[in-house]
Amino acid sequence: MKLSQIRRKRYGLLGLAFALAFFVAAQFVVTAYVKLDTVYKHRMNYNMFLEDRGMIEVVIEEMAKTIKRDGLTDYAILIGNSVAWGTNESSEHSLGRYLSDLATSAEGEDKLQAVFNLSAPSIMAGDAYTLLLMMEDRGIKTDNVMIGLSYSAFVEPKPGPRQVFWLGDYLRTQDPKAFADVLPHLQANGFEYKEGWKHAEEQALETLLHRIPVVKYKEVIPAYWEQRKAGTDLLGDPRAWNEKQFSEKWLADPSYLSFFDPQPFDMSESNWGVYFMNKIAELQQGKRLLTFVSGGNGELSKKEVTNPGYVANTEAIETYLQGLGSPYLIMQDKIDPNLFTDHVHLTKEGNELLARFVWDTWTGKGE
């Protein structure tokens, strides 16, 4: 090679220009690759969400795109915790799938075009409220909303799970007033509150870099491939609880016991479960809202669910939901204990039955 050619190569910027072109092209390829089914199948990919909770934005965005593309107008949104997500079962056997089947196969006025399940383990009323605001922001109608909670959503944390477990940072932008109200509780329960320059920097980076698709989807594609490689999206053990071992130690664990805490509930707005349910009810004024509260296993957790304190608190929840004026469902003792996989999660048949209960209540055919 001649010296002049070498010089031209060393001074040339063609390699960098191609790199830039490839980089830009990669953004288009990645954007085209990610669809709703990459991040969602009757429920969102929880492993992906665990890796980066910002992925909830991708799920909502893809839902909005699907709704727009398919021209959907009659659909429902389901937001709940691990019971509604379907822990210990695959997505094919989850509440989201069965509810979707019932809704889309229904006849007449009841028929819905889709049920979008935005549930995830540990989701609390505060997360559900935030998600509704985020969806409205994205142009997703929240005309039909089903909220799934559990008894523990009203237990006073001392300390315990945050009442906005996952989405505190989003609540901060969606409803600053509610965020300011709940902040002391969040901070007391492990929420990392950033302010000043650190917060501004984080926000700026988020805004800037998350516009780059390879950054935005950095958790999505690997998690999708991982799930495909595994061949299942099952999380947990789907066997019924009585086919498994639950040690005395497990049943005496403070986190298990706090789930059924029998201390009398304060059902005023100083209970964050009530505070956010009120917010949801306010948001759903003039729209449809159904709330169901999953029950505990009547056999495995018999001692806990028959405790007079627990029974009284369950009645207090019922009285509160009655006051909201929208349909509700208290699931305690409505599902056979044999259809539980543990103290609260359900088997395939349990999920199917729960879907039937929810759907019947939604359509007014239930109790």
Binding site: L13, L20, F22, L208, V214
Partner: protein, 477 residues
């Protein structure tokens, strides 16, 4: 601001653009960038840093005159008082208390928790300031022309956090010529290559092995022999790749700006003896220790026993420079003893007429292997959380307690071997850099090169955005 954080990369991009768009204002751009870079870590520490720099600059005006010695003393007091207060005061207090067997109450003082946050880069800028004061005092260096120039020299963001330790004689002339620096594509490409190399080392190697190192050293007192070796091998590579990553990024940033910063590492684990090791490991610190401690102590121009004492003293001070803990001091002392022993050994070989042996390749390979393991043993003192942990690990590393492998230790030993191989590859890449880079640019089509660059950029971007960037080990010094 960490070099491996998106914030820094955006900051660098902004500085780079301003630097070439406004060539006449380059000093101002750098002065402001340096201030912003340092203030990012804490405004209070920035103010302190600036005050120390300004004081030394003011004092240095009296150097070279009739009161030069007094000015030198005053300057050294300012620099060392700042360093000792922030870095060593609590260590000294603890040591005195231990020695005298009582505890001094700090209740009611701001130091009640017996911790003082260390300003970033304090050890590095202190050494740089000392070198400047001494050089100007000795007439080796003309004093800086203005506080502005002095500030840019001492605080340049590319090196203020963890070196390389710059000398005024090398760097001030570059600053005086800064307006004339032209944008040269090959130099910018080389700078980008250095930055990329540093990022790859940090993100692909250091971040992957650090959890194992932390885990093993966290339970050091329970490790067996093989596990102790695994932990030490991995730490040896963690600290090398971490610090060389930072240093190479610093050199790369310098190249982007058309400024020459010294390389701090030259594949040090291929050294066959302590003297060679210190010519290849943290080179700018080694040179500093040589010029400002070892030589003033008498260097090699004194009696043999004094040379040994000087070597041990200089290396012990180097250990103390790294951190205020006995483990660092022991580490430095250990290297001092190795240096002295090697000197003694060299003399023995000479006496016996066996110096030719050192030219034999087999001997060289053997010496490299032996010295690498001696270095690895030294790292135990450096990294161990306590003296007790270090002693336990060293005892276990004799393997007298037996040898037992698990699947994990086998895998980690294989990874360590792979990292050493990578070290050799790095040596070859540096040796044949010109030929290989030319071959890469001349023989590989631009399209393919572009695809490779884009793939690296994408993977790096994804990894850099994966949670919070982890700090560099030497930022703690």
């Amino acid at each position: 601001m960490l070099f491996n954080s998106p914030t820094f990369l955006l900051f660098l991009l902004a500085v780079f653009a301003l630097y070439y768009f406004f060539p006449r204002w380059r000093m101002l751009v750098l002065a402001v960038a340096n201030a912003a870079f340092y203030a990012y870590a804490g405004v209070g520490y920035f103010v302190l840093f600036f005050c120390v720099v300004a004081s030394v600059y003011g004092i240095s005006k009296f150097l070279g005159g009739s009161r030069s010695k007094l000015a030198l003393t005053a300057g050294l007091i300012v620099v060392l008082a700042n360093l000792v207060f922030f870095k060593y005061s609590m260590f000294l207090l603890g040591s005195v208390e231990q020695l005298l067997g009582f505890t001094i109450s700090l209740q009611g003082t701001p130091f009640v928790d017996r911790e003082i946050a260390l300003p970033i880069g304090i050890s590095f800028y202190s050494f740089q300031l000392i070198a400047y004061l001494v050089d100007v005092h000795k007439g080796k260096l003309k004093p800086s022309r203005s506080l502005f120039e002095f500030w840019v020299f001492i605080s340049l963001f590319a090196h203020s956090a963890a070196g390389p330790i710059l000398r005024g004689g090398d760097f001030l002339p570059q600053l005086r010529n800064i307006v004339a620096i032209k944008f040269r594509t090959p130099r910018v490409k080389l700078g980008l290559a250095f930055i990329l190399l540093g990022l790859v080392k940090k993100v692909f190697i250091v971040e992957k092995i650090a959890p194992y190192v932390n885990e093993y050293f966290g339970v050091a007192a329970t490790l067996n022999g093989v596990e102790s070796w695994v932990a030490s091998y991995l730490f040896a590579f963690q600290i090398y790749f971490d610090f060389s990553a930072y240093s190479e990024m610093a050199v790369g940033i310098g190249l982007l700006l058309g400024l020459r910063l010294d390389l701090n590492f030259k594949t040090p684990y291929l050294s066959s003896n302590p003297a060679e090791f210190w010519r290849r490991w943290h080179i700018t610190l080694s040179q500093w220790i040589r010029d400002y401690i070892f030589i003033p102590l008498g260097g090699s121009r004194v009696k043999n026993w004094r040379i040994y004492v000087n070597l041990i003293a200089a290396m012990t001070i180097s250990g103390l420079w790294h951190g205020a803990a006995w483990t660092f001091i022991i580490w430095g002392f250990y290297h001092g003893v190795l240096s002295a022993a090697h000197r003694m050994y060299g003399k023995g070989l000479k006496k016996m007429g066996w110096t030719k042996l050192q030219g034999n390749w087999l001997y060289k390979v053997f010496a490299i292997a032996v010295f690498f393991h001696l270095t690895v043993i030294g790292w135990v003192f450096f990294r161990a959380n306590s003296w007790g942990d270090a002693v336990h690990m060293i005892k276990q590393m004799t393997l007298l307690g037996g040898v037992s492998f698990t699947k994990e230790t086998m895998l980690l030993l294989a990874i360590s071997a792979g990292l050493y191989l990578l070290h050799i590859v790095e040596f070859l890449a540096v040796k044949y850099f010109k030929r290989w880079s030319l071959g890469w640019e001349a023989a590989v089509p631009s399209l393919i090169r572009g695809a490779v660059y884009a793939a690296i950029a994408i993977v790096l971007l994804m990894l850099l955005m994966n949670g919070e960037a982890s700090s560099f080990i030497y930022f703690a010094f």
